[in-house]
């Protein structure tokens, strides 16, 4: 899946997977923070967005 994204030109970090049990709220918060930080580092998603796809 991540490779498919790379192929379409989307940074693979834009897709994240994790496993959290329903009791692990702390882990949930940790992962949200991590994911958000990673995406912020990547900046806005520019490729493949519908508007641009129409133009292309």
């Amino acid at each position: 899946m991540k490779r498919l994204l790379e192929y379409t030109g989307i940074e693979s970090d834009r897709l994240q997977f994790s496993w959290i049990s329903s009791a692990e709220s702390t882990k949930f918060v940790k992962v949200v923070n991590e994911v958000t930080a990673k995406v912020k580092a990547l900046g806005p998603n520019k490729r493949f967005v519908k508007k641009e796809a129409k133009v292309a």
Partner: protein, 1086 residues
């Protein structure tokens, strides 16, 4: 009602309210430091100063204590108000330059450095603490002195008895001037001031007097701890009542005595962990780095006091080396009275060690000091082997003393190694694996009820009635029955329920009430008319999210006909109003933006049903748990997120379709496969509860392996008890026994199975609603240890047979040897057979009884006499039976030559080979399952690598399968002694009755459905479904032959087949592609 204006906006308030209260209601911000909702305002900090126009002139008033009146005009944000506040902040800042909240205010008002001379105070004399203390009904502190001398203090500046050290003053102090430390050192005379220990976090964390015991508590409502609540000491406080939006708090509630008439009682009081503080040598009471295993559980837990970060308590450093000490408070008569084995500690210690390594990384050194490693549960031995591979060290030694290392927080232990050498090792922390014991309160209760206890203070039961107490009608389950782990407790509890159900069967369904049915409105083909209800949840949501604007926004979304906000959507009156609105506005889809669907979806679906709507025309937007509660410092983005979530829900709900829940009659008969002890117990329980039951047994008689057993550990002859059970089964009018029978075909599913049984060559068909698999096990056929070469070498069961027959050769034998783990715990069979240690020891004791002079040797790897079986082990040692331990790498050697048997084993203490010439050699051969792949295929239930059936859930569903309507018990699940087989038989019956008693099964509407026109018959769904819901339509069917179909009754709606269908032929109702796409596409609309 008084109407006036704030900042030009017309507002309303009640007579007697103050300006600040009304402003807060309308979300108009007025800064204040000394205001508290529960206290009378005092106007001390002056920060809430606003401008008031009375029609003729303007003047400044403090908003917190200025009462409202008709027609007044308030301005909170004029230039002069701003200037006034700036001056106040500047003065306060000069007085207390280090206080963060004042620094923050200073920044807001653009003050870099106050123009006045800086002092170094931290108190702004707002008097909040004094008013709060007064409210506590206490008045321990006062504003003392005058003018510049004024300060918060106790009368005459002395420590006082009056102070309760409740901490209320510190909790309201805006500047941090008052701290708990100061209260302890300067104010109260109570020396032992500490946090209220949280029971759930084993005291590693504090809790409040008003508290929810733990996050997942049921019911999830707070309770007031009367022992610590200030109100119950002084009559004051009751601050909580001011904050509860629904007036739910009543301090005058009294304990109530409720009388219930019941036909049966089930005791499930559980255990208490052993308190190791009485062991001085371990220093648990005074060394913070010696903790109990229960404390370790909390330290490792993500919801624990450290959020799952493993630290040691003395200095919060990451530990590098941790040791576990087993058998603390178990198997120990010298230092405590618990001589039994607590059964669960070995396994939990290994689990904790493995998790600790997962948390802290592989470099963490974990060592477990133990006597015998007892991993006798299903798949436990594998876990033990896995832990060794992961580098957990296992040291066979009982450590007696822990010495603190001088000058550090480390701990030193000295122990004797396997080879007899003395070792000394340092650890960062030590975990005491504390045992299970019955609490004194439970012992009291048992006395009151008049039920007998064992010598370990557990409830006395018998092998064939393991959940019955000594008093008829009173049953027991869980750790009060004997120390045990979760799966065993779950099995027990089901069995106890069945035992009670058996005697109460005639009363079933006699007090059931039927709800009134409301006809469903047909909305098919209608344009969506969506109603959106946004919940304020008191202040839980509205305190952060701008609820009215979310409702306003929702009204603008496509197809939304109606949108509003509610104070508490889940309140009964709101529910009634919602029902009315749905009917009036002819809404056909509903969105509730409130809390989590996991707890509240069923409630709102009920509202839809009451309004005549199909309950699946509904969607929730979780703007509390996922929004207001987690973004409280970001109201703007939280409101934005709430709008997004509502939009997503609205976009999805428009596509929701009414779904039908199929109803299915449950055939009221049961089929039990296997006529051994557990199968017969299951059948008897089902029959006693009034259900027709069929037992099919392969052999020519009922009883299975029990025929080979001599006596139970409590001394009863198995044959007698077995005969009673067989007679019960044969005489029951509800049970049909089919001997010499086999299942040759199976059709159908839960509620309507059709089995073809071949008996003695003839075929019959049995229709049944549920099935219990009890196919049992058998002793391993072995050739190891010269078995078969000499009549004096026998298996444990053969020894039982000889005892039964009273073989005179037994008493004549001079020397007997028992070899344990024959075929168990080996690479090809990596499980413990659970019963053999107890069985061999019991047989050894029987031999001693028959011939007290006999020399008896038991060659073992670990003795696993778990629970109160430990007493037998102790007795065996007391009677001079010799236990010699061997390793898997160095097994005993057996030779038969010249009519003599010679056993050679290397003694672990001496390290030298010992040769024994026994007249009797008993081999504890492994218990192997009667592996039945055909049966597994019939019922589509899985087998594990060892050939045992795999239950639904290792902990919570041990007596049932993931496939609905199929249940499991006995040795087919895992090796177990008679009492556990009996319990599980009843447990399987109990689980089966939960289906049978319903008579009809209602399926969920959210199930997968195949579009046969699209299906390519590839079979991926059939093979991937964990619940066996998809199947192929038979090739000779008139329609769609060979295509897949999904049985709505079996489908759990997980969507696995939908995602994996290559043809896009499967749809998941309620979570279909278009619905999820609709949600996705709504995310980014602006």
């Amino acid at each position: 009602m008084i109407t006036f204006k704030i900042n030009g906006q017309t507002v309303q308030g009640e007579e007697g309210q103050y300006v600040l209260q009304v402003a807060q209601k309308y979300g108009i911000e007025i800064p204040t430091l000394c205001h508290h909702k529960a206290l009378e305002p005092a106007g001390m900090c002056r920060l809430c100063t606003v401008e008031m126009f009375d029609g003729r002139r303007s003047r400044f008033v403090t908003a917190c204590n200025y009462p409202i009146w008709e027609g007044m005009e308030i301005n909170t944000d004029t230039e002069s108000v701003h200037q006034g506040r700036k001056l106040i902040v500047e003065l306060l800042m000069a007085r207390c330059p280090e206080v963060p909240i004042l620094q923050k205010l200073g920044k807001k008002y653009g003050i870099e450095k106050p123009r006045f001379r800086a002092e170094d105070d931290t108190c702004i004399l707002c008097g909040l603490c004094v008013r709060m203390c007064e409210r506590m009904g206490n008045s321990a502190i006062e504003l003392t002195g005058r003018g510049v001398e004024m300060k918060v203090d106790t009368p005459f500046h002395t420590q006082t008895d009056v102070c309760l050290a409740c901490g209320a003053c510190a909790s309201v102090c805006p500047t941090g001037h008052i701290t708990l430390d100061k209260i302890r050192d300067e104010i109260t005379k109570k020396k032992n001031v500490h946090l209220i220990p949280s029971e759930y976090d084993m005291g590693l964390k504090g809790r409040k007097p008003v508290y929810v015991p733990y996050a997942q508590a049921v019911p999830n409502t707070p309770a007031i701890d009367r022992d610590v609540c200030v109100h119950f000491k002084t009559g004051g406080c009751q601050v909580c009542t001011e904050f509860c939006g629904v007036n739910a708090i009543n301090h005058n509630m009294e304990d109530e005595i409720v009388e219930l008439e019941v036909g049966s009682i089930i005791l499930a009081p559980g255990f208490q962990p052993f308190d190791p503080s009485k062991f001085d040598s371990y220093g648990y009471a005074n060394h913070p780095n010696v903790i109990t295993s229960m404390e370790m559980e909390r330290l490792l837990s993500a919801s624990g006091p450290t959020g799952g970060h493993l630290v040691r308590l003395s200095d919060h450093k990451d530990p590098k080396k941790i040791a576990w000490f087993q058998c603390v408070g178990s198997r120990d008569l010298n230092r405590c009275d618990n001589s039994y084995c607590s059964s669960v500690c070995c396994m939990y210690a290994i689990k904790e060690a493995v998790i600790a390594k997962e948390h802290a990384g592989d470099s963490l050194d974990c060592a477990i000091f133990y006597m015998d490693m007892r991993t006798h549960g299903k798949d436990f031995e594998r876990f033990y082997n896995g832990a060794k591979e992961k580098g957990v060290r296992f040291v066979r030694s009982r450590v007696h003393t822990i010495d603190p290392v001088h000058g550090s927080d480390d701990l030193s232990v000295r122990y004797v190694n396997d080879d007899g050498s003395l070792q000394e090792e340092k650890f960062d922390m030590i975990v005491l694996s504390v045992g299970l014991e019955t609490s004194p309160e439970v012992v009291q209760m048992a006395k009151k009820l008049g039920i007998e206890l064992t010598e370990g203070n557990f409830c006395k039961t018998s092998t064939f009635e393991p959940v019955a107490t000594s008093k008829p009608g009173i049953f027991v389950c869980g750790a009060f029955q004997g120390p045990k782990d979760i799966p065993q407790s779950v099995v027990d509890s089901s069995a106890a329920a069945a035992a009670a159900g058996e005697i109460l069967a005639p009363g079933r369904n006699t007090t059931t009430k039927q709800p009134v049915k409301i006809d469903e409105v047909n909305v098919m083909g209608e344009r969506p008319r969506i109603g959106v209800f946004v919940c304020r949840c008191g202040i839980n949501i509205a305190g952060v999210v701008d609820v009215p604007s979310v409702a306003e926004y929702a009204a603008t979304l496509p197809f939304v006909e109606y949108a509003t906000d509610n104070l508490y959507s889940c309140a009964q009156d709101t529910q009634d109003t919602m029902t009315q609105i749905i009917k009036q506005k002819k809404l056909n889809r509903v969105v509730v933006a409130a809390c989590t669907p996991k707890t509240h979806e069923p409630l709102f679906q009920e509202t839809l049903i009451n309004a005549g709507l199909n309950k699946y025309l509904f969607e929730m937007a979780n703007i509390r748990n996922h929004d207001s509660w987690v973004h409280k410092n970001n109201p703007e983005l939280a409101t934005q997120k709430a709008k997004d979530l509502v939009r997503m829900a609205v976009n999805k709900v428009g596509l929701m379709q009414p779904l039908q829940e199929a109803e299915l009659e449950v055939n009221q008969a049961a089929l039990v496969i296997g006529g051994g002890i557990s199968g017969m117990t299951a059948a008897r329980s089902l029959a006693r509860q009034g259900y027709e039951t069929h037992i099919i047994e392969r052999g020519e008689r009922l009883g299975g392996q029990a025929h080979n057993l001599y006596k139970t550990i409590s001394g009863d002859l198995v044959a007698d008890k077995l005969a009673e059970l067989v007679a019960d089964v044969e005489q029951s009018k509800n049970i049909n026994v089919h001997l010499n029978s086999e299942l040759t075909a199976l059709d159908g599913f839960v509620g309507s199975f059709k089995s073809t049984v071949s008996s003695n060559g003839s075929q019959k068909e049995i229709v049944h609603g549920v099935a219990v698999i009890a196919t049992g096990g058998a002793p391993l056929q072995t050739e190891e240890y010269c078995y078969g070469q000499d009549a004096r070498i026998m298996t444990s069961l053969e020894l039982d047979q000889r005892m039964k027959a009273d073989d005179p050769a037994l008493a004549a034998a001079k020397t007997a040897v028992f070899i344990q783990c024959v075929g168990s715990r080996e690479p090809q069979r990596p499980y413990c057979s659970r019963v053999c240690c107890t069985h061999s020891i019991d047989n050894a004791l029987e031999l001693k009884k028959r011939n007290p002079d006999m020399n008896i040797y038991i060659l073992y790897r670990d003795i696993r006499t778990y629970g109160e079986r430990e007493y037998l082990y102790k007795e065996a040692r007391g009677r001079g039976i010799i236990f010699i331990r061997y390793d898997l790498e160095n097994k005993p050697q057996v030779e038969v030559a010249d009519g003599r048997i010679q056993v050679t084993v290397t003694d672990h203490v001496l390290g030298l080979p010992v040769a024994i010439e026994p007249d009797l050699l008993s081999l504890a051969t492994a218990v192997v399952p009667n592996r039945d792949d055909k049966l597994a295929q019939f019922f589509k239930v899985p087998l594990n690598d060892d050939g045992f059936f795999v239950e639904k859930h290792a902990k919570l569903g041990p007596s049932e399968f993931a496939t609905d309507g199929v249940f499991l018990c006995g040795l087919a699940h895992y090796p177990k002694p008679i009492d556990e087989a009996v319990v599980q038989g009843r447990a399987a019956a109990s689980r089966a009755v939960t289906l049978l008693a319903r008579e009809k099964i209602k399926t969920s509407g959210q199930v997968a459905q195949v579009d046969p026109m699209m299906c390519s018959s590839c079979g991926v769904c059939v093979s991937i479904c964990p619940y066996s819901a998809p199947s192929f339509i038979p090739a000779d069917a008139r329609m769609h032959a060979g295509k897949a179909q999904i049985n709505a009754v079996l489908c759990k709606g997980c969507g696995l087949c939908v995602a994996s269908c290559r043809s896009g032929a499967i749809h998941l109702k309620g979570f279909d592609n278009d619905q999820i796409f609709a949600q996705i596409s709504a995310v980014s609309w602006e």
